[in-house]
C-alpha cells in the first residue's frame, strides 16, 4: 500500500490492536477519516467495529497503535478526553436520562450557569439554536422518556453538537429507526458534513452506506478487509468484503402456498389500534409495515396476550383466544419473537441454556411440573447446533453473546416451538448480512413447513423479500393491503406515510384451496 499523503485527517488510527481474553478484536487496524466526510465502518457481528470505536473514544485502551486527531497525536484515557478533542459518540443503545427534559439532557455535564445554578432559559435557547441550525427540531421542554426513538436520537446528536463535537461517531444509528426516520437522519448528517463536521458511521445496512456515505472501511475478523470509495463500489463488493464470500443481496423469496386460516382477527382494537381485520394462513407470511408508532408493536403485543384487548375477536385455529392469557395462547399454538431482544426477549444475566428453555419449560421439557436440568441442557445443545448459535458453552450468560447470536438464540427458541402461528418483530435489527440471510432462510423454511407467520418489520426490503401479503398500518388502522407483487417500495412508502391507498382490495387467499 502507498503511504497516505501528508494530509491532516479528522481521525487517523494507525495499527490499532486490541486483545480480549481469547479474542483478538482489532488486529493492526488503520482507519483514516477525512474532514467533512461521512465515513462508513462496516463488518459482520463481532468484526471489531464497536471495539475500534471504543478505543477511539477513550473507553478502551489499545494494546498497540496510535491515534491522531486533526493531525495531532493524542492519548485518551477517558471519554472526556475524547470529547475535549472534539469527538462525540452516539452509542447504539442511547445514553439518555429518561426523566430529564431534552434541554437538561443536552446540556448535562456542560451546563450554562448563572450563580452556580443551571441556567435553564439559556439551555432551552441553546437547544433551539442548535436545532434550528441543523434541522433537528425537538421540544426542549419534553421529557426524553416520552419521546419516540427518532427524536431521542436527535437529542443524542444535539448533545454532541452542544459540546462542540467536530467529529461524530454513530454506532448503528439506524438500527431502531423507521425508513422515514433514517432518511431524516441522513439529511441531518449531510447538513452536518456540509458545515464542515465529520461523521463516522458504524452500520450493517448496505443501502444506507451506498446512499449516504463518502468512503467505506470494512472490517473482518478484526482486520481491515477493504477500503472503498462509495461512488466506485457496489453492494456486492462490500458484502463480499464483509463476509469473505459472495452474498446474494435483497433476495426475494418465492411465494408460499397458503392453506387454512390459522389466525383470524376481526374488528380488533387495543390501545391506539383501531378496528383491525386480518388473517394469516398456514404456509404464508403476512408482513406488517408501518412507521414506528403506528401501532404495529401494540397490535402484536395484544395478539401475544401482553396487552388487553378493547374490542374485537381473535381466533387461533378456530378457537377464540380474544381474552386468553399469554400462556394459554402459547399452549394453543403461538410463538413470538419480540422486538427488544435485550429487555424483553431474553434475560441477559441468565445462561444460554436457561434462555433457550423459556416457553418450552412448560411443554416439552417438563413432565408434571418437573423440569430436569439435564433436559434443559440437552435442549440447549440441540438448538445451539441447529441454529448455529456461537456460544462458548450453554452455561455462559446470554449477555456474552453478540447481538447477532442473541437474535439467533431468540428466533431459534421460538421456531423450535413448531407453533402453528409465529409472530415476529424486527427479526434482523442490528444483525449482520450473513446472519440476516440465515434468519430469513429459517423463516422461509418455517413457512414452507406449513406454519403461519406474522412479520412486523421496519425494513421494507425485508418485508418485500419475505412476505406473501403486506398490510400497512397507519395511525393504528390497516391503511392498505397488497399482494406480494404489488408491494414495491414506493407504494409501501406512500401508504406508510398515510397517502390515500390505491390498491386496497381483498387479497386473502380462499380458506381451503391452496394455490399451486
Amino acid at each position: 500500500m502507498t503511504p497516505p499523503p501528508p494530509e491532516n485527517f479528522a481521525v487517523e488510527l494507525r495499527g490499532i490492536t486490541k486483545r480480549f481474553p481469547g479474542t483478538l478484536a482489532n488486529d493492526a487496524v488503520d482507519l483514516t477519516v477525512r474532514h467533512g466526510e461521512i465515513h462508513a465502518l462496516m463488518g459482520e457481528n463481532g468484526a471489531g467495529k464497536s471495539t475500534l470505536m471504543s478505543v477511539l473514544y477513550g473507553m478502551e485502551r489499545a494494546d498497540a497503535g496510535s491515534i491522531r486527531i486533526d493531525g495531532r497525536e493524542v492519548r485518551f484515557t477517558s471519554p472526556s478526553d475524547a470529547m475535549a478533542a472534539g469527538l462525540g459518540m452516539v452509542h447504539q443503545s442511547f445514553k439518555l436520562f429518561d426523566s430529564l427534559t431534552v434541554a437538561e439532557n443536552v446540556v448535562y455535564a456542560a451546563e450554562p450557569r448563572r450563580f452556580g445554578l443551571v441556567d435553564r432559559a439559556a439551555a432551552r435557547r441553546r437547544v433551539r439554536e442548535l436545532a434550528d441550525e441543523h434541522g433537528l427540531a425537538v421540544d426542549p421542554e419534553a421529557r426524553v422518556g416520552d419521546l419516540p426513538v427518532g427524536l431521542r436520537q436527535r437529542v443524542e446528536i444535539l448533545k454532541l453538537l452542544h459540546r462542540g463535537a467536530r467529529t461524530l461517531i454513530l454506532d448503528e444509528p439506524t438500527a431502531v429507526l423507521t425508513p422515514a426516520e433514517a432518511d431524516s437522519l441522513f439529511g441531518v448528517l449531510k447538513s452536518l458534513t456540509a458545515r464542515g463536521r465529520t461523521v463516522v458511521l458504524v452500520t450493517h445496512k448496505l443501502r444506507e452506506v451506498l446512499e449516504g456515505s463518502d468512503r467505506v472501511t470494512v472490517l473482518r475478523d478484526g482486520r481491515v478487509a477493504a477500503r472503498l470509495v462509495t461512488s466506485d463500489t457496489t453492494a456486492d463488493e462490500i458484502a463480499a468484503a464483509m463476509t469473505g464470500r459472495a452474498v446474494e443481496l435483497d433476495r426475494v423469496h418465492a411465494p408460499g402456498t397458503p392453506g387454512e386460516a390459522v389466525l383470524r382477527v376481526t374488528g380488533f382494537s387495543t390501545d391506539s389500534v383501531h378496528d383491525v381485520d386480518l388473517s394469516v394462513h398456514a404456509g404464508e407470511i403476512v408482513g406488517v409495515a408501518g412507521v414506528a408508532g403506528n401501532g404495529q408493536s401494540k397490535l402484536v403485543e395484544a395478539l401475544a396476550g401482553l396487552r388487553p384487548v378493547a374490542a374485537g375477536r381473535v381466533t387461533l385455529l378456530g378457537a377464540d383466544i380474544t381474552h386468553a392469557s399469554a400462556t394459554e395462547r402459547r399452549l394453543k399454538g403461538l410463538a413470538y419473537v419480540p422486538e427488544d431482544r435485550h429487555a424483553v426477549g431474553t434475560a441477559p444475566a441468565a445462561s444460554v441454556a436457561d434462555n433457550l428453555a423459556m416457553g418450552h419449560h412448560r411443554t416439552t421439557l417438563s413432565t408434571r411440573g418437573l423440569l430436569p436440568p439435564a433436559a434443559v441442557r440437552a435442549h440447549a445443545r440441540r438448538l445451539v447446533e441447529r441454529f448455529g448459535i456461537k456460544a462458548a458453552t450453554t452455561e455462559v450468560p446470554a449477555s456474552a453473546l453478540s447481538g447477532g447470536n442473541l437474535q439467533k438464540l431468540l428466533i431459534g427458541r421460538e421456531l423450535a416451538h413448531e407453533a402453528p402461528l409465529l409472530l415476529v418483530e424486527q427479526p434482523t435489527r442490528g444483525v449482520d448480512i450473513g446472519a440476516i440471510q440465515n434468519i430469513h432462510d429459517q423463516l422461509i423454511a418455517y413457512r414452507d413447513a406449513g406454519h403461519a407467520v406474522l412479520l412486523v418489520s421496519a425494513e421494507l426490503s425485508e418485508i418485500r423479500g419475505l412476505a406473501d401479503r403486506v398490510l400497512v398500518l397507519y395511525e393504528g388502522r390497516v391503511a392498505a393491503s397488497y399482494a406480494k407483487e404489488e408491494a414495491d417500495e414506493r407504494t409501501l412508502g406512500l401508504a406508510m406515510a398515510g397517502a390515500p391507498a390505491e390498491a386496497t382490495h381483498e387479497h386473502e387467499p380462499p380458506d381451503t384451496s391452496p394455490r399451486t
Binding site: G305, A347, R362, L365, L371
Partner: protein, 350 residues
C-alpha cells in the same frame, strides 16, 4: 493447590477471613485474646452444650431466611417478616388455647392456622402492590407494625394470663407442643423448616415454577413476555413467604414456653438476620441455608464467648456486623482488581 487458591479467592472465604482478622485486631485492642475468643465462639456454638441452641436459633433464622429468600428469588423484597411471624404466632396461640380437638391434632391445626395467618397478611401487602401500586417493599414494612401492635394488644388484654407480670397469653394446654428431640430444645420445628428448605431447593432447581421464579428475578419483562403472570406470582410468592414466617411464629409458640409472649418473637431480630442471609446468598437455596446456619453460629457462639471470656457484649455485636459488612462488600482478594476494571468498562462502554 488450585482448588485451595480458588477457595481463597472466593468472596465468601475472603470476607470471613478479613472479618476475623479485623475482629482479632479489635479484640487485641481491648486486651482480649482473639484465639480464645474465637475458640469460645466455635465451641460455644458447635460444642455439645451449644449445638442444641444453635439448631434452635437456626430453626428460626433459617425459617425466616427462606421466607424472605423465596420472593427475593423473583426480585421481590418482603420487609414484613416481623408482622407475618407475630400474626402466625398469636394465631397459633389462639388455636392452641381454644381448639376442641385432641392435643396432637391441635398442634397440626395451630401450625396450619399460623401459616394461614402469616400468608394472609403477606397477601395483603402483595395486594397493595398489585392493586394500589404501593411498592411491596413499603407496603410490607408498613403493614408489619400494626400487626405487631395487634398481637401485643391481644396478648395483653383478651388472651392475657391473669396475675402474670409479663404481657403473655395463657399457657397452651398440656400436650399442645411440638415434640422435642430428647431432652433438648430442638423441636420438630427444625424438621419442618428443613423440609421447607429442601422443597425450596427442589423447586428452584428442578421444577418449571422454580425456573419461572428465577427468570422473573433476572428479568421480569422476559418472564412476563413468556406468559408468567407477575401479579399472580407476587401473590403466590408472598403467600408462601408469609406462610413460612407464620410457621416460624407458630413454631415459636408451640415450643417452650408454650405460649405467646409479647415481643419474644421479634426481639431476637430473626427477620433482619434472615433477610441478611437471603440477600447475601442472592436467595439461592443452598447459599441461604449456609448463610442462615452461619448467622445462627455467630449469634449463639457470640453469646457463649461473652459468658466464657472477658470479651464485652458490645464487641460481639461489633464482630458480627464487621463480618456482614465484609460479606456484603464481596471483597475478593486478587480478583478485586479484575472486578474493578470490568466494571469501568461496563459503566463506560456497554
Amino acid at each position: 493447590m488450585t482448588r485451595i487458591s480458588g477457595a481463597l479467592r472466593s468472596p465468601l472465604t475472603f470476607s470471613v477471613l478479613a472479618g476475623l482478622v479485623i475482629g482479632a485486631l479489635f479484640l487485641l485492642g481491648t486486651g482480649a485474646d482473639p484465639i480464645a475468643a474465637y475458640e469460645a465462639v466455635v465451641t460455644g456454638a458447635l460444642g455439645a452444650d451449644g449445638i442444641g441452641s444453635t439448631l434452635t436459633t437456626g430453626t428460626s433464622v433459617l425459617g425466616l431466611a427462606l421466607a424472605l429468600a423465596i420472593p427475593l428469588r423473583a426480585g421481590l423484597i418482603n420487609l414484613g417478616g416481623d408482622g407475618q411471624m407475630v400474626l402466625g404466632g398469636i394465631t397459633a396461640a389462639v388455636t392452641g388455647l381454644y381448639s376442641p380437638l385432641p392435643a396432637p391434632l391441635t398442634v397440626v391445626l395451630a401450625l396450619l392456622a399460623g401459616m394461614a395467618a402469616g400468608a394472609g397478611y403477606a397477601v395483603l401487602a402483595a395486594l397493595c402492590e398489585n392493586r394500589l401500586g404501593v411498592p411491596l417493599l413499603v407496603s410490607s414494612l408498613l403493614l408489619s407494625y400494626p400487626a405487631v401492635s395487634l398481637a401485643s394488644y391481644l396478648a395483653r388484654y383478651p388472651l392475657k394470663e391473669p396475675g402474670s407480670s409479663l404481657p403473655q397469653t395463657r399457657a397452651l394446654p398440656d400436650g399442645v407442643a411440638l415434640p422435642a428431640f430428647g431432652d433438648s430444645t430442638v423441636t420438630l420445628g427444625l424438621v419442618l423448616v428443613a423440609i421447607a428448605a429442601a422443597a425450596y431447593w427442589f423447586t428452584d432447581r428442578r421444577t418449571a415454577v422454580g425456573y419461572e421464579i428465577r427468570m422473573t428475578g433476572l428479568n421480569p419483562r422476559f418472564s412476563a413476555y413468556a406468559g408468567v403472570e407477575r401479579r399472580g406470582l407476587t401473590l403466590r410468592l408472598m403467600a408462601l413467604s408469609g406462610g413460612l414466617a407464620g410457621l416460624v411464629g407458630a413454631i415459636g409458640v408451640l415450643s417452650f414456653p408454650y405460649r405467646f409472649v409479647d415481643g419474644s418473637l421479634t426481639a431476637p431480630g430473626y427477620t433482619w438476620t434472615g433477610l441478611t442471609a437471603a440477600l447475601l446468598a442472592a436467595a439461592a437455596p443452598l447459599g441461604t441455608v449456609v448463610a442462615a446456619f452461619f448467622f445462627a453460629v455467630l449469634q449463639v457462639g457470640g453469646l457463649a464467648m461473652e459468658r466464657t471470656t472477658e470479651v464485652p457484649r458490645e464487641l460481639t455485636q461489633v464482630l458480627q456486623a464487621i463480618v456482614i459488612v465484609f460479606l456484603a462488600a464481596r471483597l475478593r482478594f486478587p480478583g478485586r482488581w479484575f472486578a474493578f476494571t470490568r466494571r469501568t468498562r461496563e459503566s463506560g462502554a456497554v
